[in-house]
Symmetry: C3
Subunit: 448 residues, 3 copies
């Protein structure tokens, strides 16, 4: 008999979704397979199913394993709220809080895993299937995956909720896959938000992935995918977006908050684009094109680097000083065109003391093309505070003009040759060997 495949976790005979939604979903997947196998398959297929999570708190004690194509898991609410702020509220103020936790259609990841276990063991949702074809069109939509707590990582962080370590992952795709769609989700307080191996035609769209150790990691290899319109921001140890051995990856229209150790990191990524994003970071090393990343386009992005204003996090950084560069390139044939960089640092915070911060740094590689990028570099006068938000608001409401600071807008190192640098800094701001690189300075008034 042919029938439709609609499942609601709150209306299923096996298990209790509020106590262990993992058991419920796994039971549903078994049911889907059973029904598929009973069907006449004359041009009919195995259409998968939708599993619906109405808004509620669902504890997950059993890992979900997805090994069928065309499964959509959807909720009605991404449910993000800042757990980071909540865990740094003074104890005496907690009783006055309206609510303590994220919400919406919320998965509470209650897996018990050792911190040194393989990452896959701590994942709420695992997708994995060997053989052909690659698993296709699994969709995650509009629910919340909450890792609940970070834990003591032995580094001496006085508030263990600030470690960004708990061995938990939201979604872990272990095998090659095609045409996946992760959209409108909220992920919070996970050591890894979304980890995906060997992606093809993947869409990561309009998600809210923040206060995770790492937000999005595209590992193995991949092609022809897009990461668009997301709000993201990793912890100080991790990546907001990481990709390796990828081609035709489009990263556009994202708004990426601090405080990831890097904002976007490419490891041997080629023929990909970072366009039209807002990128904000508290540390140098915002966008790194590493390990021969080549033929990429970085265009129309707004880079802002300023100083961490929030006291609980000021003890942390990523260990890089301001000579490292905001955008670094190790590779060839990349195009960096029409970007804006704001380097907003009070002199006292510049590392090493007295240094001229570097904006774009070509570490190695040839035939990179850097044109019409504008850099603004001034002091900030931002006050630190108990609230990062309040500090930002304060600075928004001031109109005082800050003093400029000297920077190197483009530094082309000795290993990088045959590059072209146009209109991206004055003669004083660009450091390169003109015998082996082409250069045209941004005109300055004094030159005329």
């Amino acid at each position: 008999m042919t029938e439709a495949y609609y499942y609601d976790v709150t209306n299923w005979p096996v298990g209790n979704p509020f106590e262990d939604v993992g058991q419920v979903i796994n039971s549903m997947i078994e049911d889907i397979k059973k029904k598929q196998n009973n069907r006449d398959l004359d041009e009919g297929g195995k259409p998968g199913a939708v599993i619906y999570l109405p808004p509620a708190d669902y504890h997950l004690k059993t890992q979900v394993l997805i090994d069928i194509s065309f499964l959509k898991i959807m909720g009605s609410g991404h449910g993000f709220t800042s757990s980071s702020i909540r865990f740094n509220v003074p104890e005496e103020d907690v009783p006055n809080l309206h609510e303590l936790w994220p919400g919406g259609s919320r998965i509470l990841v209650d897996l018990e895993t050792a911190l040194d276990a393989p990452e896959i063991e701590g994942a709420a949702f695992v997708v994995k299937r060997e053989g052909d074809p690659r698993i296709s069109s699994v969709e995650f939509n509009n629910f919340c995956i909450d890792g609940l707590h970070f834990v003591d990582d032995g580094t001496g962080e006085p508030n263990v909720e600030n470690t960004y370590v708990n061995g938990k992952t939201g979604i872990y795709v272990a095998s090659a896959q095609d045409s996946f769609l992760i959209s409108d989700m909220g992920l919070v307080y996970l050591e890894h938000g979304v980890t995906i191996y060997n992606a093809d035609a993947l869409t990561i769209h309009n998600n809210f992935i923040a206060e995770c150790g790492n937000c999005l990691e595209l590992r193995g290899w991949g092609q022809a995918s897009k990461v668009t319109n997301n709000l993201m921001g990793a912890g100080f140890k991790g990546y907001s977006i990481y990709a390796e051995h990828f081609a035709q990856l489009l990263i556009s229209s994202n708004n990426i908050f601090p405080r990831g150790a890097s904002t976007i990191e490419f490891n041997s990524v080629t023929r990909s684009s970072i366009v039209g994003n807002i990128l904000h970071a508290f540390y140098a090393g915002m966008v790194m094109l590493k390990a021969n990343s080549s033929e990429n386009l970085v265009s129309g992005n707004h880079f802002l680097h300023d100083h961490e204003p929030w006291k609980p996090m000021q003890m942390h950084d990523n260990g890089l000083d301001d000579l490292f560069g905001l955008l670094t390139i190790e590779g060839h044939n990349n195009s960096v065109i029409a970007n804006h960089f704001s380097e907003i640092l009070d002199r006292e915070f510049i590392k090493p003391v007295g240094a001229k911060p570097v904006i774009i740094r070509l570490i190695s590689g040839d035939h990179n093309y850097i044109a019409t990028n504008n850099t603004v570099a001034t002091e900030a006068h931002t006050e630190s505070g108990d609230s990062a938000f309040a500090a930002q608001v304060d600075s928004l409401l001031t109109t005082e003009v800050s003093a400029p600071i000297d920077v190197t807008t483009v530094l082309v190192e000795a290993n990088a040759v045959q590059n072209t640098i146009l209109d991206s800094g004055t003669d004083e701001q660009v450091i390169l060997d003109q015998k082996v690189n082409a250069f045209r300075a941004t005109p300055s008034i004094s030159i005329r």
Copy 2:
């Protein structure tokens, strides 16, 4: 007892959703709170709820007040149709119309408010909560909010349906909030579409907000938000997008129609981006960076300014003449790179008569960087008509080449110094004091 939170307005014991959906939704919110308070909160939270509006006409006579986090209100249809066209159809043709009103999951805003009452009183949906944490993750998705009629505003407009005044607002967020998501909505015939104070990590995505006095107003202050992929167009008195005291605001991939008094207006907005949009306007003053708006990036946008072709609206404009500029800047350190400007005006419509229209105007501020912007300026030969659409189609189907008009592509006023203007106009097209600004003209043939 733990349970899920799914509500359907057509299946609720209190009130009649077709007569007053506001009463129904407020009753549901009371129920949600009651159930939340009865729960054991051991790591469980207050997950909010979803309220579903299946397609239908829902009168709203009682304002909805949302003071809980994680509430999603969703329909199945944004339901936009042009009320403006319908209200300018000759009376005798009305009986032949297939339908008269917007549709989908449609809220008919029937609030009775005085035009001089505070804006909040005329809002269909109000979100407001004091205390901590800020209210989070309220979502509005895929329904229609219809203000029904505009009213006589005393200005003598012969058709009161063309005034863009009725004291009604679709969504009014009165207090600081986090991670809100407004997507796939249709808003029409409201004096204010969406008004939001003090936004953090807000998403306004894929909405259709048109024929409203104002479409989107981001007031107070805000940070780290995105306004993407929307179709918008305000009335002749209002803003399509307005933001004040905002940082890290990403406005990308929107297609903004006429006829807003301004298309995008920034008031003390910093470190934000306007990238990859199509902006079309009938008046000068399309994008204004005002009141020390600084360090913003305007890149990859298509600006079109042409003459109002629709007779019913030709009596209106925003009062600015063609010397005002299409993009104006009062602020410092902004980057304007890689934009296209089309100024398409028959000579007879240029104001003041005989003037050379201005495209980019730097009113005040320093260290703005203007590079590789292209301006096209020609006559139009557009016919006015009873249908703006027909006029557009006529012009699409013609291939006649229009005569060029002379314009000032960049005007740097005396108060603006130390700016850099590159490849954005010839020597004849750019007006600036080269003693205090850096300039490189777009090469012209005759120079060679």
Copy 3:
């Protein structure tokens, strides 16, 4: 009596949705009209309806005809999987495949139409209504339309499943319409995916339209629309995106795969934007601005042209040689700024043998502005294979540096005059008549 309009195809008294979902949907539309006509319409309208397709296989033997506004047809799963790979798997391996067909909420298009019949006859969904107002706000969301098979087209293709011909169209909008929304869909193995005449304020967002003869065709005329965030890729005979007589069309943040005969083709399109896309093609003629297409902006795109690596498709191409250009312009006043071009071809594949491939070609037209575009041209060393994917992965995992090839980055033909070419190639790479065009070469090291 007022009521809501929610329909589920699996719960309807007329017809069997699994055998002929077309009959079921048409019956629902009749019911919607009947209910609308029975209603009191005092400021109430005809709100349309939602028709839900839970995941399942739905054969469609009767064409759906939509002639009401505000109808939303939605599923829970776009269901794309590669039928092209599946139909090129050796027969003996087929029994080992996990699944054979696309899935999700899947329409199997079983219409019987002659290949030479008018296109509309082979369409699964037809939208058509004459009179006023134009039909508005029909939405298609998150289901799959599967054309099932391609057929013998008489051209001698040994595998008829590779012809991209079957006379089937997914969605065919025959009459002028307003504010349509097609999102989150999957379309596969259709000769035409989506064909729309006379569009206004159309949204095509986040769809997966691939392995179709043509993906998206915007015919007639149109205005103020957006095509954003899609994954697309047509067959070797067709268009991935085609538009004619259109204004204010925004094509942004799409990731377009090979192997369309063209990737984006504009026919008399004006004042439109192609921004922030990844475009990948196996043939020259990727983006064509034809027939006086003017005042368009092409910015921030990544163009990649390389050689077809997949053996089953290597017998096909679009007939254009490498002198044709990757981006061609016949029109005036277009802006091409800040794009990256990768031309990756082993010398043996360049046509004609020994030719210098052309990247940007201005065929005719004046006042086009071409600035800060970067071209990379190297050999590839890609191995052909039984799997295009494997070939790509191989090339991703290699880091060997390829030898450069000589190209003409910009060719301005004799019919094209008064154009401006800046920083888009060295003196050796740009061919133009400097007496009638303005030119500034990208600085090269040797010049200094």
